[in-house]
């Protein structure tokens, strides 16, 4: 009997043993971790030494994000903004992954990664302007709150449909590859996204095109109310990489140092070897999906509490930073106070800033306003003139 045979796609060994591949391996893929629950580095983790400056910036970023979420969430509850999404419990993923990147790396986010923008210098005022949809919002008030985007921060504008950014990320990465840039693309998604066709399309395209793109999946256990057990039967997301020929790793998403170290290495491989990398960061969505959701309706409060306290990514990282002598209780309260002041100011300013003008409704659909849209604008203006009481008074005509 022949030992092996050439098929299209390569040489394959032949066997007389009929054996189905099991649907899962005996052991689940382990999760890379650097800091233990008490914030002590695990000696064998080979983690990248982080400078005091970076470590403090990372920690401050996570604290700032948590404060921003708390205050914007409240602002939504008070009816000052229409909608909000928090990153509670997942702060380490956005902030620490951003810290591991170069500002030239291009980010195609989903919607729960404001930590990346924050790290890159998007100000609290800029966040507030977007959430209030005023004329200082770069998106000209067209999208719901939290749909940030910033060209100068290489952060593509968020779109609501799930996973659509993923195949686009491969196209962006292919462009970087062809232009021989020393940069990669990093794109984010949640566990629910991995069920979308676009997820599979993008992994397959990225592998075939040898595109320098790092896929980061925040597996936080929940897609709105759907638990991962009802999302997929595989060992999470990490195992899907191999089927597409993509190098993959599972990491502890609540361990800022693990995220930082793994993304540094992933980025390096993506660029130097011109290949995609898949990272599954295990975490937990401590907050509700959004302000339109009440997650206590479908999951136990004790579970939320456990992740909020015992597995708090801020608390764990703080222990490490503080033990290094880089952070103190005074720093902590000073930061909280500063950030809260800045946020309240930012909200006041954003609230007082004028809404985008009416004509912004019709621009940017195309590079120039075509005649059909001009006609519609004219008709709308006539109607407003006739029935001004039926239209918002705070929109400049």
């Amino acid at each position: 009997m022949q030992q092996s045979m050439d098929f299209p796609g390569g040489r394959v060994a032949l066997t007389s043993k009929m054996k189905f591949i099991f649907e899962s391996s005996e052991q689940r893929i382990p999760c890379y971790r650097v800091l233990d629950d008490d914030g002590y580095p695990i000696s064998s983790s080979g983690f990248e030494q982080v400078s005091r400056e970076i470590a403090v910036k990372m920690y401050s970023g996570m604290v700032t994000l948590r404060n921003m979420d708390t205050i914007f969430y409240e602002a939504q509850r008070q009816g000052r903004i229409s909608f909000y999404v928090t990153s509670f419990g997942e702060e380490a993923i956005g902030v620490a992954s951003a810290a591991a990147l170069s500002p030239d790396d291009i980010v195609l986010p989903q919607y729960r990664e404001p930590g990346v923008l924050l790290w890159r210098g998007f100000t609290l005022q800029e966040f507030a302007h977007q959430c209030f949809g005023n004329k200082a919002d770069y998106g000209k008030g067209r999208q719901m709150p939290i749909h940030y985007g910033s060209n100068k921060h290489n952060y593509f504008t968020i779109s609501s449909p799930i996973a659509t950014q993923l195949p686009q990320a491969v196209g962006v990465a292919y462009s970087l590859k062809m232009d021989k840039k020393d940069a990669c693309v990093v794109t984010y998604m949640g566990d629910g996204s991995t069920s979308e066709g676009d997820f599979h399309a993008s992994l397959n395209f990225a592998a075939v095109m040898e595109a320098p793109v790092v896929f980061i999946c925040r597996n936080n256990g929940w897609a709105i109310s759907t638990p991962v057990s009802e999302q997929f039967r595989s060992d999470g997301v990490v195992v899907k990489g191999q089927a597409y020929g993509i190098r993959s790793i599972r990491i502890d998403g609540n361990d800022a140092l693990a995220v930082y170290t793994a993304i540094r290495v992933a980025r390096e491989m993506a660029i130097s070897e011109q290949r995609p990398i898949l990272v599954e960061a295990l975490t937990y969505r401590v907050g509700h999906h959004s302000t339109s959701d009440d997650s206590t309706k479908y999951r136990p409060i004790e579970e939320i509490e456990h992740w909020k306290t015992a597995q708090n990514p801020l608390a764990r990282f703080r222990k490490w930073v503080q033990r290094n002598g880089w952070w103190s209780d005074e720093d902590e309260s000073e930061l909280h106070e500063n950030v809260r002041k800045q946020l309240l100011h930012a909200i006041q300013v954003a609230e007082k800033t004028e809404k985008p003008q009416l004509s912004d409704m019709f621009t940017d659909v195309y590079d120039q306003v075509p005649s059909n849209l001009s006609e519609q604008e004219r008709l709308l203006r006539e109607t407003i003139k006739k029935h001004p009481q039926d239209y918002p008074s705070d929109v400049p005509i």
Binding site: L108, D137, Y138, G139, K140, R142, Q143, H147, G149, S150, N151, F156, T157, S159, P161, T164, L166, P167, Q168, A169, V170, G171, V172, A173, Y174, S175, L176, M178, D179, G197, D198, A201, S202, N204, F205, V208, M209, T363, D364, V365, Y366, D367, P370, S371, N372, L373
Partner: protein
């Protein structure tokens, strides 16, 4: 004399164009494509500029959006318009809204999606559809359909260079049948401008793509009965040239629109509604929606009869 196939090739890659950050890709594009539209491109521009993609339409368009967002000309091919629907979300929710949602911080204007469409005499409902109306409902993209090889080259070059994403449907019928002299030089035809290709005084006929030759035949027939037809090729379906159609109907007082696509909620209804609104007092006869039974028969007939029906009705 060039067939439409050849002209698409020259339209896709006049010298120096691909060198300027342009990419051509899609299923089977590398070897020249199932309609041979990209024959020879790989040899000239290399496998990194002209390449096969995995068989996945949403991947092709999503990838193209990303490529275009980086300032490239992304020329994506969907093998048949019938198979464009997996990419519908990427076209409607992503490409079309990319600029708008970002406040013009980002755009994917360099994206052109080419897809062979329409009846070809066989192929039935998975190789002959005319899905243009689905896309005409979407602000943010342009939809362009050429009627002839010469038009196709000029319009395609305009689409590729237009700073907005465009869906470019190529009538398959023309791949095989149309023969026309196509200039070799680089030229562009304007988008959103219809063209009066035959002047007349009694009735205005509006169509696009392969319909134009059928309508032209019909106007010759009508002429024998003393009816003078004004024939308009819409060329760009969105944003479309209302003014030229309006001016014509104000002159003739009658309008007939035909398309290969299904009648209900077809783009003909849109034209009809707009023109009634603009020319209400001038219309002498109710606007005909797409009433061209010839093409509707072709659309619904079995593959065996389609071509003969078309011929016998011409």
């Amino acid at each position: 004399m060039l067939s439409l196939i050849c002209l698409i090739i020259s339209g896709g890659h006049p010298r120096g164009f691909l060198a300027n950050k342009a990419y051509v890709f899609g299923e089977d594009v590398g070897f020249g494509g199932v309609f041979r539209c990209t024959t020879g491109l790989v040899d000239r521009f290399g496998k990194r500029r002209v390449f096969n993609t995995p068989l996945c339409e949403q991947g092709i368009v999503g990838f193209g959006i990303g490529l275009a967002a980086m300032g490239n000309r992304a020329i994506a091919e969907i093998q048949f318009a019938d198979y464009i629907f997996p990419a519908f979300d990427q076209i409607v929710n992503e490409a079309a809204k990319f600029r708008y949602r970002s406040g013009n911080q980002f755009n994917c204007g360099g994206l052109t999606i080419r897809a062979p469409y329409g009846a070809v005499g066989h192929g039935g409902h998975y190789h002959s559809q005319s899905p243009e109306a689905f896309f005409c409902h979407v602000p943010g993209i342009k939809v362009v359909i050429p009627r002839s090889p010469r038009q196709a080259k000029g319009l395609l070059l305009s689409c590729i260079r237009d700073p907005n994403p465009v869906v470019f449907f190529e009538p398959k019928w023309l791949y095989r049948l149309a023969v026309e002299e196509v200039p070799e030089h680089d030229y562009m035809l304007p988008l959103s401008e219809a063209e009066v290709i035959r002047e007349g005084s009694d009735i205005t006929l509006v169509g696009w793509g392969a319909q134009l030759s059928i309508m032209e035949q019909a106007s010759f027939e009508a002429e024998k009965d003393g009816i003078s037809c004004e024939l308009i090729d819409l060329r760009t379906l969105i944003p479309w040239d209302k003014e030229i159609v309006e001016a014509s109907v104000k002159k003739t007082g009658r309008l007939l629109i035909t398309h290969e696509a299904p009648v209900t909620a077809g783009f003909g209804a849109e034209i009809s509604a707009s023109i009634v609104e603009r020319c209400f007092l001038r219309i002498e006869y109710p606007c005909n929606g797409p009433q061209c039974d010839i093409t509707r028969n072709i659309f619904h007939l079995s593959t065996m009869h389609a071509q003969t029906t078309r011929n016998s009705n011409r």
